[in-house]
Amino acid sequence: MLQHLKRGLHRTIICREAVIWLYLTNLILVLVPTLLLFGEIEESLTNRVMAEEMSKGYDDIWFKEFSAEAKGLGSTFDPTVTGIGAILNSLDSQLSGQLFLTYLPIVALACLYALFWIFASGGLLQAFNRNAPPSFASFVSDSGAFFGRFFRITVLAAVGYALVFGILKPGVEDLLAYLLREEIDERIVFACTLGKYLLVALSLAALSMLSDYTKISTVVESRHSILLAMLRSLRLCLAQFRSVAGLYLMLTLVGLLLLLIYSIVAPGASQQSWPGVILALALGQAYIISRVWLRVLYLGSQFELFRELQNLDRQGDGNEPSIEKTESAETGIIA
């Protein structure tokens, strides 16, 4: 699995420009709302002594007064976005399903970003497939070629996520509420809650894996039927569960390591000067870049694993019908 990770890393280096473009897309999308919030906060603090408090640290009287009047984007501002809180807040809402219930314009923005990712995934995977840095034109062309199929895969995945957050999670919660109705020890309830979130996380991981391998299958095996691609990836995930799950776990550990590192270096609220603010911003951006890179690494490593398993599959079952092109497992060059 380390080999896949290593080769996946190589793939991400090939596509480093795409990583940067995806990051820049993220950055550009959030700039306007950030400027709007900047305007709201600045207006509240213009010529006010509390501006000093808020620039030196934090003033909770100001925050209460600001939030009492805030509407729109301002209502989503919460001082716990400082330090690691910004990441924890979003991860917590992602795991609990609240992410989709965030302030509507933000959800719309996030959906737009997701569309960019759907679009870019085709270009990324085709670049992995060719094992060569894509030109801008070929990247866009490949992305466009797969966009329709990937969009349909995302829709199917969305149905899965809806089942997780609409049925599985509430169902488990109802069950736990029933089983723990008389429980008075918080530690036991917490343990069960961890179990619930583990189940949710595993379900999300399974859906994510299935979605990723379906896309990989679509590109590598030039599939036009996403249902067949999904069945193919499902078969692969089940047949090679240890490898697939092990790689996913390893990638997740990489993600947790990044989170840990950021939690150590994440700046709190103590910046009192422009250089300090810029440095804090830069550290945050470094983490966001690492998140984009990690997502690409997921695709790259899983791509490597798929290719290897595809070869094994072909050796074991020479009648694999859908592989029209073959590739050297060593070089990754299309023959």
Binding site: A86, L88, D92, I184
Partner: protein, 686 residues
């Protein structure tokens, strides 16, 4: 501090053995000179006026943990303290508030958003009267001996609704006496009752084998001097009762720990696998208890050079085993600082109950017993369990001793106590930090960069939308209704809980804080101490407090009460503009709120010179002009923060070169990283 089981005798006030004779109390023994002085000062009015005690209870109760039913009898000795004959008795049957969904409690605006249709059988409760009789024996032992008269009132009663017209509400029972009770006549009332314990609701009930039993037995209302009963329906979770002596024999499964109002005077094991715990307490106005086999019991003694010692007993749930010291420290802080500021806690013992998880019994006060509240993971610096412990222990003073009518004037104890809690928290538990909980609120992260205001309530900025819902002087049980926040959500699903919270807690706390700063702490402390001394073991109303303030401060503050207590107007003073033309400088201060208050304005020039202006704050605006070359550096309205009631402190200041762009950039960039992470969260699902 020990882990030993309680086996003690006596239940009198700390250091005193008191005997009531012909309406006077004889103090036999005191623990210290200071204690003597204090106790004399507290009880002097009581000695002079005669005892206010009107209702004594002898209760026997057996808890059946299988059926969740308490079978009990109460023998109530009641003295008619009215100056006129009384024709009936009125009892509170609080648990009938959860008898069905038609009760006034459940149909009230505060909880009407809740759907009760899926409630299971064990979630409901009731108080049933099986037997009711009264002995009316006249005014003296001689009359009683000559004329022993007992009347069976079983079935001869009805449910009444003095506060609303909801005929389905059964929280007040009226029993007509066979003949009017004469002034000062003593009645002995026997009540046989059955109480079905609910799932936790309004801080009482059971969860698993944890029981918290508050307001669980038939309890007499309070007779006013004019002969009218003050016996409100149970609509809000606030209470009002006479002081009296409680003797309770509580039978629970053997091996279970029991905590209750008063002191344990006996514990007897029964042959049927149960044990009977006997508690005794004088001069309290409620009896509450809790039982569970899981409690960890800890003890510690509070000692102070000038205050009576207090034996603290902590009943801790196992998942909070590590929080023993924090509970004790908070309780000691409250006993010490309330004692030093207002007056001593006289009972000599207090039981602190750490409520079970999700038992919904946390954060509530009862005489000599209160519940704290904590979480398994609760980092130091979060203020939990310290804040709630200080607050509920503080209620021993404001409500336990100075026992205002919570039904009508909850602010007199909740507001007083919120103010007092804030002072203790500022002095003893600062700094506190913002905590955010993750994974269904289980995992806390404490943000050391986000220091909270030292006071538990630091301003009214977050309460703007509630402040105008009602006036403070409206009786608490009538406050509300809930206000639909159509400005927030046109679909009306977002709603404010009504005016009860802000008018009982936040606004009065800020009102007292304003008064403290306006009059100065020394004067204000004397006011509070005098009020405490004068009305301990009494039932003061708002006018009693206002009169005390006027008397001690020597000021007529009716204008202040009119602006606060009798009005829903808000205070908001602001620096409106600062203009500079050469040597001419001018500052305009505005009053945006409707309420008025005298404020100071401090103008600081760039060379450090300061000018302090005083404004009566009545006009809508005032302009101050200066002819000097230096630029104005800062302008501050109310620079000493006297007017804690100001709803917008941000606009109270003007700073020539405020780093607003830096502050806005810093915080919006942090928010941006959150937003980017949200976007990445979506991308993960792609």
């Amino acid at each position: 501090m020990t882990d030993s089981r309680e086996r003690n005798s006596g239940g009198q006030l700390s250091g005193i053995s008191s005997v009531e004779k012909e309406g006077k109390m004889e103090i036999k023994c005191l623990s210290s000179v200071q204690g003597r002085v204090w106790l004399l000062s507290v009880f002097l009015p009581w000695i002079m006026l005669g005892p206010l005690l009107a209702t004594d209870y002898q209760i026997q109760a057996r808890l059946d943990t299988d059926t969740k039913i308490i079978q009990g009898t109460a023998t109530i000795t009641w003295i008619n303290r009215a100056s006129v004959p009384v024709e009936d008795l009125r009892f509170h049957l609080y648990y009938n508030a959860w008898r069905d969904a038609q009760s006034s409690f459940l149909t009230s605006n505060r909880v009407s958003m809740t759907d009760f249709s899926d409630w299971k059988d064990d979630e409901w409760a009731y108080n049933e009267i099986d037997e009711l009789s009264v002995s009316m024996n006249g005014n003296s032992e001689l009359e009683a001996a000559e004329n022993p008269t007992s009347f069976d009132l079983t079935g001869n009663y009805s449910f009444i609704q003095p506060d609303d017209e909801n005929s389905d509400d059964r929280t007040v029972l009226r029993a007509v006496l066979p003949r009017p009770a004469q002034p000062d006549e003593t009645l002995v009332i026997k009540v046989g009752f059955r109480t079905k314990v609910p799932r936790p609701f309004a801080r009482t009930g059971y969860r698993g084998d944890y029981y918290f039993l508050a307001h669980w037995f038939p309890k007499l209302g309070v007779i006013e001097s004019d002969g009218n009963w003050n016996c409100h329906q149970f609509i809000q979770t606030e209470f009002f009762s006479d002081f009296g002596t409680y003797d309770a024999r509580l039978t629970v499964p053997a091996g279970w720990i029991v905590g209750a109002t008063g002191k344990l005077v006996a514990k007897d094991d029964n042959p049927d696998g149960t044990a009977t715990h006997t508690f005794h307490q004088e001069e309290v106005h409620a009896f509450t208890w809790t039982t569970s086999p899981h409690f960890l019991e800890h003890r510690k003694r509070f000692e102070h050079p000038s205050l009576p010692a207090v034996d603290m007993r902590l009943l801790l749930m196992p998942d909070h085993a590590g929080q023993e010291k924090r509970y004790f420290r908070a309780t000691e802080a409250a006993l010490r600082l309330y004692g030093e500021w207002f007056g001593a806690y006289p009972y000599g013992h207090v039981t602190v109950v750490d409520p079970a998880y999700k038992s919904r019994s946390g954060g509530m006060e009862y005489p000599t017993l209160f519940t704290g509240g904590s979480r398994w993971l609760s980092p130091e610096g979060s203020g939990s369990p310290e804040g709630v412990t200080v607050h509920e222990c503080g209620h021993q003073f404001w409500f336990g001793l100075v026992a205002n009518n919570e039904f009508e004037h909850a602010w007199l104890d909740e507001g007083f106590n919120t103010y007092s809690t804030g002072r203790v928290m500022e002095k003893e538990f600062s700094p506190r930090y913002l905590v955010r909980r993750y994974l269904d609120d289980f995992v806390p992260v404490l943000f050391r960069d986000l220091q909270q205001s030292p006071r538990s309530v630091a301003g009214l900025g977050g309460n703007r939308s509630e402040l105008k819902l009602d006036i403070m002087s409206k009786p608490s049980w009538q406050s509300g209704p809930a206000a639909f926040r159509r400005d927030v959500d046109p679909g009306s699903r977002v709603y404010s809980g009504g005016a009860y919270g802000v008018n009982s807690y936040t606004k009065p706390a800020m009102m007292l804080q304003t008064l403290e700063r306006y009059l100065g702490w020394e004067t204000f402390q004397r006011i509070m101490a005098t009020y405490f001394e004068r009305y301990s073991f009494g039932h003061p109303g708002p006018e009693d407090y206002f009169n005390t303030v006027a008397e001690i401060s020597g000021q007529d503050l009716q204008w202040f009460w009119d602006e606060t207590f009798n009005s829903s107007d808000v205070f908001d003073y602001a620096v409106d503009s600062v203009v500079s033309h050469g040597n001419r400088k001018s500052v305009v201060i505005r009053r945006w709120g409707e309420a008025t208050f005298p404020v100071q304005v401090r103008v600081t020039f760039e060379n450090g010179d300061q000018v302090l202006e005083s404004w009566d704050g009545v006009d809508r605006w005032i302009r101050y002009s200066y002819s000097r070359p230096e630029e104005i550096q800062t302008v501050e309205v109310d620079p000493s923060h006297v007017l804690a009631l100001d709803i917008n402190r941000t606009n109270n200041t003007w700073l020539r070169e405020a780093p607003s762009a830096l502050a806005a950039a810093k915080w919006s960039f942090k928010w941006m990283i959150w937003l980017q992470s949200v976007l990445e969260g979506f991308a993960f699902h792609i």
